[in-house]
């Protein structure tokens, strides 16, 4: 098995986990923040009561748990794969975020927005076909 092939075998499952957990986390954060109400002030005095309400929301913690799982998968990927490969590859999540916001949050997604998301995914596909690593392997054991 070539080194590139072996890299892809462990890279792809982790990317898949990232694609599901990351968007799910964002959907929960969105649900929590919509329940808090509009935050547009940057004054500390205004932010304190908002922060306490945010911390008391169950959805926030659910979202943070999902994002934490996403973050660990992401960190593992970054130990061997290029950042400029991982970031676009995991970003098929733009398709799953649209689907999840539609299903779980009831957001209406216009044709224009679906088109934009599809173009983003096309861009992701183009980047995803390049090699996972372009720099040397510094600490190969």
């Amino acid at each position: 098995m070539t080194h590139t092939r072996r890299l892809q075998l462990k890279t792809l499952p982790l990317i898949l986990i990232s694609i599901v957990l990351g968007p799910l986390g964002n959907v929960f954060l969105g649900k929590a923040m919509k329940g808090i109400g509009s935050v547009t002030s940057a004054r500390i005095l205004d932010l304190v009561p908002i922060a306490s309400r945010v911390l008391a929301s169950g959805y926030i913690w659910l979202g943070i748990a999902c994002l934490l799982g996403f973050f660990i998968a992401h960190m593992l990927l970054l130990t061997w794969a290029d950042y400029s490969y991982v970031q676009p590859a995991t970003s098929l999540s733009y398709l799953s975020i649209s689907i999840l916001s539609y299903l779980l949050l009831g957001e209406t997604i216009s044709l224009l927005r679906w088109l934009g998301v599809a173009v983003i995914c096309l861009g992701v596909f183009l980047v995803g076909r390049t090699s996972p690593r372009t720099t040397g392997a510094p600490n190969r054991g």
Binding site: M75, Y83, P88, I109, R113, G116, L126, T134, R140
Partner: protein, 124 residues
């Protein structure tokens, strides 16, 4: 204006934070096995690196900005627009991590930016 400032923080602080984390990760080296023990030691190792903490601080700033914008904008709008971090990420990875961005990657990143523009037009 508030919205633009928040998007700026999400994209720039978030991407700068990820670049710092990536730099920290590369100095640990490739992870070969996925036992709980080696993952834990990997996490502990990473917490000793200053780049990791700088990365966490910047990513936190990006995260709080994301929370703020989600309080008044749709998830299906905010998340795709924050894909602008692709362009920021590519420039940053080239300058800061020495990654070579070949022509195909640049084309992909350009297409992503076109997609972001289209999503921006769908703003409510």
């Amino acid at each position: 204006m508030v919205e633009a400032a928040l998007f700026f923080l999400i994209v720039v602080a978030g991407t700068a934070g990820e670049l710092c984390v990536s730099r920290a990760m590369k100095s640990i080296g490739e992870v070969h096995d996925f036992s709980l023990k080696s993952i834990l030691s990997f996490v502990l190792q990473s917490l000793h690196l200053p780049w990791m903490w700088l990365g966490i601080a910047l990513m936190s700033l990006g995260f709080f900005s994301l929370l703020a914008i989600l309080s008044f904008q749709e998830v299906s709008f905010v998340v795709p627009v924050s894909a602008l971090s692709y362009a920021a990420g590519a420039f940053g990875a080239k300058a800061f991590l020495g990654e070579r961005i070949n022509r195909n990657r640049w084309i992909g990143i350009a297409v992503v930016c076109i997609g972001v523009t289209i999503v921006w037009w769908s703003r409510k």
